[in-house]
Structures are given as structure tokens and as C-alpha cells.
Symmetry: C2
Subunit: 591 residues, 2 copies
């Protein structure tokens, strides 16, 4: 079974030395002093390492069980969830008006990374609950807020998102679930939803389903979708779980991973539902939940990579095979640890450079969400909206790739269950798929976000990168960091220019390059992060910081990223500029 | 459950239109007329589709069971194996002196692809048996050959490879299993071996273990390793299974995939073993088996990708979501098939271009093995020895990546078991690890093969590529195929030059780039294949071939590879030329 070591030192470095949160002039951030965040992260780290991680492998092996309509989660999940709830972690960044702690989203992100790294399947119950909270908080009526939010925030009740039906995943216009208005103002919900994470389980007293459905007679397609609250138990007059509602779990999916999370087929048989927001405005309301979920899934991508990476590094330090070139590193032992071998080292650098760059990227994104919400900053809002598909798509593609790389470090041990890393690979795989496949993220990025308001957001991103490059001019980071970042940025600008020129005349050219642009963007973002990480490390070293080894490692890892990962932008640019003709050439039957 | 469609048309194209086998002047190839290979492939295809593929998902779900030392394979495996055996497939390319059919290795490769695509776990029992046959055929005594080969060739008995021990995987010098000489000329074998594929099962009457062990008093390290035959049942005077030998299965591994194959912990408790070849010459003998196994594993890599690709293409043609840009492709249906969407198409092209290029590469490699063996051609031998780590490493890395890409085409369905593709991903993953991890392949390529005989083999490969480029000069394939291949070749030559210059002064620079060189090499090899495939398609079209659609698709797929995949060589070159400093900079404890 894999131990988990909370990366608190690294998180503190990003929060304080890179983002300088305490002086960021975002309301609430003034509380985020070094000692305060350390205390929160250490507490969350303890829970992750001592409570969540030990349940992870057993949760995978046992999975969830459906009997007589009741789902039993793996042994220990119920107690662990209760402790998470009692610790107030579910409402960490929720509105204090409803019992939340009102902490910044950024702090929730840092805590979330550890919870996911330790036990992704278990953390999903909490993540969906948070999403339901956010959707009702943004779009619910005052009565709905008063009834549901405190119970979601406390974790007494949990939440779900119900979008997919057998005939409709990405294309929500095809939804068939119907919502018939009743005289009392409620709706009768009838239909089948599939792939509902946490649709039924034994962790909470009630489950609040947020369900997309169509009111008969409404507009065709996505314009006729409304959002409903469908509680498993209808709250009674006191707000306690009352009558059983007409919603049941009809089956559990057998999945590649996240076995500890119940993925349910849900039957709505004339269940009572309550409209959230206006009729036919459901998609917009659900997008509040989806955007949050997408950033949360991006976090899962790199958090699983982080978990796998630390396992790989510790395996590579301990496993003895072969000898270092030149002279033995451990002459008194039968062989050297495999970390001496250049290709093992290369693979570990791939992992480390991604995980630390991705963490900085996710934290930066979270800080933009706080800035947008707490400062009512429209530019920050536009920027994070642009970054959201990159955070989701790039961090989950690369996160999975990194988990696979970590598995490779283990050799044969990586393929057998007892070492734990193969589970991380299986768990990480879903993040590339759900909450909009990464193809949909790429489409959202290139087809929608990139050109919004004349490309204002992407120009703001370019300006951030250019400012960072300019800040490094003439300094010790110019050649090895700023120069490669400048080359990568120029690839990105050329690619964006290509799209802007082509999009109107040949949209297929742009869309055939969307996946590559998402990755190109991700690399430039991580390049920017590594320049900032290096600048922070440099400042620390210049100031004579005590932890010089830690800071030197940051500089070396950044150099690796700049020299060996960032040049991928040229390949993505070449593919984009190759256009869509070769992608679209074949007739469907030729595949 | 996933159906399987044998890709016979594609195989025939490679065999006859690209490799022109019937006139290749390799003894035995003159039999390989179009009709003959079609008949063999169709028969193997039928077995794959009707017998093997239907057992694949159930085999994964059931796995193998160990009870009282006996392993039970999944339902149906025993009967299917009997039918494979009765059909003479196990000895397809084996020596007729021992009951084999004496067919070229190339034909075995084509058949093997289909068997693996249909059911990799089941095919492994056969693959290891073939490996044991080859090792005994090359290194056994006349008596050993007479006793074991006919029974391995017929499939009556099966074989295994026993290298790994808990403390020793890659580094075989650490082997502890000991072999004590007995008065009757046999040896007493004592020790534990792990990860033994097919170490115990119920498919055959006897299992012939090939075991590496050390004779006490011999040289240290790998120079003191000998190879032994250790039968599960000691053959009696008539060659029938007699007394039970002291070798038992102590446990089964719980793995990520290939659940239908029994991966065993084997205990040797003073088992009777028979020396193969000379004392202390075991590693060389085992390498006969390993080299064959490595090519077989490369085949697994692309065969799993091929299986996944055809599933993805058929899913994309049938799944309805969204509408094509411009006008609907299926206006009478609620949505268009997802194959209309550019990013879905891009992903399908990634898969198709890899699979078809890889098949040509594997077939070419197999034809070189035949040329080396049947024409006693040392140059072909040197070339295929150089290509072996590329076939193993590149085709399994990319094969897994391609299976993951195919899974992505399925969206959420790709993550649930019933669609079958997630199993293909789990099964494909092992191929990057076993028979020498891909890191070891890269090391073998750069550290050993590249510089052999002053780089003669790689120069021969360069000459092949240059000849193909020259052959395209002035023709219709010059701009879109030959020019990008020329650029890729120049990246490869620069990288090889970098290694030759650096290897002596700083071996870490070379070894830190080994993985990238293996991939660079693989891309150039597939680029060469696509030029040849395109040339063959062009010839067919010019000759007015009836299947113009098929040939046009080859040209379009090749154009895709050249425009969007082959440019990866520049990235690999950039990484290689970045040197090893950033890879090796960190102290071990900084990871």
C-alpha cells in the first residue's frame, strides 16, 4: 500500500514565494499568512495521509455494492467522510451565511489536491456536493438556499450532477428526461440518467440531485433545458429528510477505476423536482457547476500525477539494480539504487517538472477565481474562463501521462496491484473524459473562448507572459528561462494568429488544431509558471534563505522544463499550421 | 463485448504491394503467393474473430484461479487453446524436422497480430511456448531437441521464461537461484522466480520451464549464469510426463490487466533441471528467447492499438452527438455521427496512421529476420538487431498511447467495462514493461546497438531511407512524403552524430537522450514505411487498380503522418541536444 506525504513545503512556496498571497489585495487573502496556511495545510495533510490514503487501495479492491436499491461504499469510507464533514472541510470556502468558513477558493484548491492525491474516489463525493452547493448558491431561490445550502455546506447532505442520458452525453440538446409542471409549483421528473457519480451511497442522510430535464412544450434543443433539485428524501416542514422521492439507483457501472465512487444509473419515475432559476435556463445554471467541476477535474489530473510521482521517486531511491556509470553509488550494496540511471532520472524529471509546474498553474487559476469573485474583477474572470479548458484538458492529459510515467519507474512492480501505482493510473484516466472530454475542452478553448471580445483574454495572457519575460531581462534567468519562454510564446502567438485568420474561412482548420492548441497553451502556461518559480527561488537564494537545497532544486527542475519540455510548442504549432486537410481527408467508411 | 474484424486487406497490401514477398528471393518466400497468404490469414482471422475475441472480456473478468497448487484458466481458454494447437498454429513457423510447418517468421507475425488483437492474454501462453522452442532449438543438445521440440511445436506442452527474482529484474547478475550438479548429470534447482507468465495453468499436459540459475563456485555476476530446462513433469523413458518435479506455483499476481494469463510466483525446491548449452553461458542462450520475445512484445503493442482503433472507428461512425460544421451529415437523425467532428477525426487519424505504419514496420522487421536466417545474411541480421529495441520500445509506447486515444474516442463509454476498450488499455500497458522495460530498450539501442561495428547498421538504415527518398525524387510523392522524411532523417543523423561524439566523453549525455532517440528512430522508421506504403498505393492507382478508394485512403493517411506526426523528430532532437546536465542535476533526495 502506498504511503502519502503531503507536499506542504511545495505548496507554501507557491502560495507565499510565488503568488505572495498575503499581500495580493484580494479580500480575505490578508488572512493567508504563512503560519495560517501552514496550519490549515498541515491539518489537511494529516487527514490525507492518516485517514484517506490508507482507505484508497481497499476502496479500489472492494468497490461499491448495490443491493435492494441501496449502495454500500467501501469499508471505512463512511467514517472517513464523517470526519471530513466534522472537520468543516466540505464548507472550507463556502459562504459563511450558510455555515461555510469563507476561506478563499485557493486554499480549498490546495487542500483539495491532497485529498484527491490520497483518495480520489472518496473525494469525489465531496467535490460533487460542493458543485451542487455552488449551483444552488448562484441560481437558487432564497428559500432553496435557506433549505439546502446549510445542509450541503455541513456535509450532512451530498449532491450530484445529472446531465448524461444513454443517447446524450456532450450533446445536451438530445435530453429526453421530462419535467411536468404540477399544481403546487413543483415538477414531476421522469427519465433515466447515467454515469451519475455518487448517485446513491451510504455516506449522508440525503442526496440532492441536480437534474437537467425538459419541460414539455418548451423550445427545441439546449434552449429548452431546465435545472431541477430532486432530493432523494423530500425535506419535511422542519427541513429534515421526509418522504422517499421517486428516484432510485438502477445499477452501478463497472469501471476501469475510481471503484470507490458509486457511478449510478438513476431512474426518475415521476419524482418531485423543484425548478432552479428560470424555466429553460437550465444549461446556464448547470454551467456554474460545470465550470467549477472542470477546474476541479484539472486538479484531479495533476493531483493523481503528484501522488504517483512521489511513489516513483521513493521506489527509485530504494530499488537496487545495476550500477551507475563510472563508479558505484552504493559500493557496499549488491547494486545501486535505480535513481542513478540516466533514463530513470529523465523519467523522474518528466514527472517532477510537470507536477510542480501544474500545481503553480492550478493555484494561479484558483487565485484568479478569487480575484474575479472577491474583487469583482472582470478581467480576471475573462482570463480564468479562458484558462479553464486548459486547466481541465492539459492538466488531465498530462496528469495521466505522468502517472503512466511514474508507473514505468516501477518496472514490473508498476503493473501489480500491491504497489498502488497502477490504481493511480486507472483512477487518473477518467479525468480526461468526464465534465466534457478533453476534445470538448479544446473546442471550448478554440471555438469559443479564444475569440471572445476580440481575443481580449488571450492578449491579457500574452501580456502576462511578456511581462514575466521582460522582468527577467538582463538577469540570471534570461538565457535558460526567459529565452525559451519567448520562443514558446511566439509559437503560441503564431498559432493563435493562424486560427483568427482561418476560423471564418475554414473552421475545420481551426478545430483540427484545437487539441494541439490546448497543449501548446498548457506548455506556455507551465513555462510561465516555471519562470515565476525560478524567480522566487532566485530571490530566496539571493536573500540567503536557509533552504538553499530546496531552492536550487526548483531552479534545476525549471531548467529541465525549459530545455526539454517547453520545446513541444514547436511541434504543436507545426501540427496546427499543417491545417485540417489531412485530418478531414478520409471518408468515414475508410477508417 | 467488442467484435474483431481481421485486417486482412491491409496485411495483404503490406505483404504483396509493399514488401512484394513472393519475389523477395528469400528461401520459402516463393510460396507466399497472394492466394496462399490470403488463405492462411483468413483462416487465422476466423479463429481470431470467432474463437479468441469472444473469450477476451470474460477472460479478463474471471482471471485465473490458484487452488491447491493448480491454476485454472478462464472458461473456454482450454478448449480454444486445444483448437489453436490442433490447427497447427503453434508450430506455424517452426522447424519441419520437429513437426513445424516451416513457414516464414513473417507469416507467423501476421497471424500473431490477429491472435493478440483478439485475445492477448490467451496468446501469451502460445508466445512463451514458441520462445522456449526457439531457445532449445538454438542451444539444446540433440537429445533435448528430440525430446522437447516436437511436443512444444505441437503445443502438447508449453514453455516459460524464468528470469526475474524478487531482488533482481533487469540486473540478472543478482540472481540467487542455484543449480547444484548431480551425479547423473542433472542439476538440483533451488530458488524463487517471480512474474512467470504461464508458470502454471491447465492448458497443456506439461510445462517446460527455462530457468536461469547459478552453479555454485561459478563466476560472479552475469558471467556465472546458466540456463536449465525444468519440466513440471519429468519425461519418462517414452517421453511422456512422468514424476512430478519439485517446482510449484506459490501464488498469482494481481495485475492491472492480462488477467487471463497466469502470472506466477514459482518455487523451485530442489527441482531436477537439465543444462542447456554450456555452464555459465546461460545469458546468451536466454537472449535468443529474449530477442524473439522483444519483437513479439512490439507486435503486442501495435496489435492492441489495432484492436482498439477498429473499435473506436466503429463507435465514431455510430454514436450520434452534435452536428457537423456547415450542414448536418445525417439530417434525418437526431444528431450526426461523431466522426464528423474535426477533433474526433484527428484522434482517429492518430490511431490509423500509427497502426498501419506500425504493421508495415513489424512486417518489414519480420522479413529481415527471415532474410537473416534463411539467406544467412549478416547485414540483415545486424539491421534487425538494431531495429529490435525500436520495434519493442517505440511500438509499445505508441501502441499504448494509441489504445488510450481510442478509449478517448468513446467518451464515457471508454471508461466502462462493457465496451471492451478499457481492457485493451490495461492489457496494452504491460508491453511497455516486460521483456526489458522500454528504458532498457533505449539503453540497448543507444548504449550497445548504435555504435556496433562503427555504426554499420545505423548507416545501413540511413541508406535505406535515403534510397527511398531518392526513389521519390521528381515524382508525385516528393513534396508531401519525401521532403518531410528527409527533414526527419536529418534530425536522426544529427542526433546519432551527437551521441557518437559525446558517448565517450560524457556517457550520461547520450543515455539521458536514449529514450528520445528510440522515439526519433521509430518516427523515421514509420515515415519510411509511409513513403513505401504511399509508393505502393501510387503504383496501384497508376495501374488502374480496382480498389482505388482503399489506395487513396493509404495516400491520405500517409499525408497525415508526414504532416502531423513525423515533425516530432525535431522535438526529440532538441531534447537530445539539450544534453544530460538538466536531467542529472538534482541529488536523489531532492525528488
Amino acid at each position: 500500500m502506498a504511503d502519502y506525504t503531503p507536499p506542504i513545503r511545495d505548496m507554501q512556496f507557491v502560495l507565499h514565494d510565488v503568488l505572495d498571497v498575503a499581500t495580493a489585495e484580494i479580500p480575505g487573502y490578508e488572512e493567508l499568512e504563512r503560519d495560517f496556511t501552514a496550519a490549515v495545510l498541515e491539518e489537511a495533510g494529516k487527514i490525507s495521509a492518516a485517514l484517506l490514503a490508507p482507505l484508497n487501495a481497499a476502496g479500489d479492491a472492494q468497490g461499491c455494492r448495490l443491493e435492494n436499491g441501496t449502495v454500500t461504499t467501501p469499508e471505512g469510507f463512511r467514517d472517513a467522510y464523517a470526519r471530513i464533514r466534522e472537520g468543516g472541510w466540505i464548507g472550507l470556502d463556502a459562504d459563511p451565511d450558510y455555515g461555510g468558513q469563507g476561506m478563499p477558493y485557493l486554499l480549498g484548491t490546495a487542500v483539495g489536491e491532497m485529498f484527491v492525491s490520497a483518495n480520489m474516489a472518496l473525494n469525489m463525493y465531496q467535490g460533487l456536493t460542493h458543485g451542487a452547493y455552488s449551483a444552488i448558491h448562484a441560481h437558487g431561490s432564497p428559500e432553496q438556499k435557506a433549505l439546502y445550502l446549510p445542509r450541503l455546506v455541513s456535509g450532512e447532505w451530498s449532491g450530484t450532477m445529472n446531465l448524461t442520458e444513454p443517447q446524450c452525453g456532450t450533446d445536451l440538446g438530445l435530453i429526453r428526461t421530462k419535467a411536468e409542471p404540477q399544481e403546487d409549483g413543483s415538477y414531476r421528473i421522469t427519465g433515466q440518467k447515467i454515469w451519475i457519480s455518487g448517485g446513491e451511497h451510504d455516506l449522508t442522510d440525503n442526496i440532492i440531485h441536480l437534474v437537467l430535464a425538459k419541460i414539455p412544450g418548451g423550445p427545441e434543443g439546449t434552449k429548452g433545458i431546465s435545472l431541477f433539485i430532486v432530493p432523494k428524501f423530500l425535506p419535511d416542514a422542519d427541513g429534515n429528510p421526509g418522504a422517499r422521492n421517486g428516484v432510485t439507483c438502477g445499477g452501478l457501472e463497472h469501471k476501469m477505476g475510481i471503484h470507490g465512487n458509486a457511478t449510478c444509473v438513476m431512474h426518475y419515475d415521476g419524482a418531485t423536482g423543484f425548478l432552479v432559476g428560470k424555466e429553460h435556463a437550465g444549461l446556464r445554471a448547470m454551467f456554474t457547476m460545470m465550470n467549477e467541476a472542470r477546474i476541479g477535474v484539472g486538479l484531479q489530473g495533476y493531483a493523481m500525477a503528484a501522488a504517483a510521482q512521489q511513489q516513483a521517486a521513493s521506489f527509485a531511491r530504494e530499488r537496487l539494480q545495476g550500477r551507475a556509470i563510472g563508479r558505484p553509488a552504493a559500493p557496499d550494496r549488491p547494486a545501486d539504487p535505480i535513481i542513478v540511471h540516466p533514463d530513470v532520472r529523465r523519467n523522474l524529471m518528466v514527472q517532477k517538472a510537470f507536477v510542480e509546474g501544474a500545481r503553480a498553474f492550478a493555484f494561479w487559476g484558483a487565485s484568479l477565481i478569487d480575484r474575479a469573485a472577491r474583487n469583482d474583477d472582470a478581467e480576471a474572470e475573462a482570463l480564468v474562463s479562458l484558462l479553464t479548458p486548459v486547466i481541465k484538458g492539459f492538466l488531465t492529459d498530462k496528469g495521466f501521462e505522468t502517472a503512466v510515467a511514474a508507473q514505468q519507474t516501477f518496472g514490473g512492480s508498476g503493473y501489480v496491484r500491491e504497489w498502488g501505482v497502477e490504481q493511480m493510473v486507472r483512477d487518473a484516466r477518467i479525468a480526461m473524459i468526464y465534465e466534457g472530454t478533453n476534445g470538448i475542452q479544446a473546442l471550448d478553448l478554440v471555438g469559443r473562448k479564444l475569440g471572445q471580445e476580440g481575443g481580449a483574454a488571450v492578449r491579457a495572457f500574452f501580456a502576462e507572459v511578456e511581462a514575466a519575460i521582460a522582468g527577467a531581462k538582463g538577469g540570471p534567468l534570461e538565457d535558460e528561462y526567459a529565452a525559451p519562454l519567448r520562443a514558446a510564446l511566439s509559437d503560441m502567438q503564431a498559432a493563435a494568429g493562424y486560427f483568427l485568420k482561418r476560423a471564418a474561412q475554414n473552421p475545420e482548420d481551426a478545430l483540427a488544431g484545437a487539441h494541439d492548441f490546448m497543449h501548446l497553451f498548457g506548455h506556455v502556461a507551465l513555462g510561465l509558471m516555471w519562470l515565476r518559480l525560478a524567480q522566487a527561488a532566485r530571490r530566496g537564494l539571493d536573500a540567503g534563505a536557509a533552504d538553499a537545497t530546496f531552492l536550487e532544486a526548483k531552479l534545476a527542475t525549471g531548467r529541465y522544463y525549459m530545455a526539454r519540455e517547453l520545446p513541444a510548442t514547436a511541434l504543436h504549432r507545426a501540427r496546427i499550421e499543417a491545417g485540417g486537410a489531412s485530418v478531414m481527408a478520409l471518408p468515414a467508411e475508410a477508417f
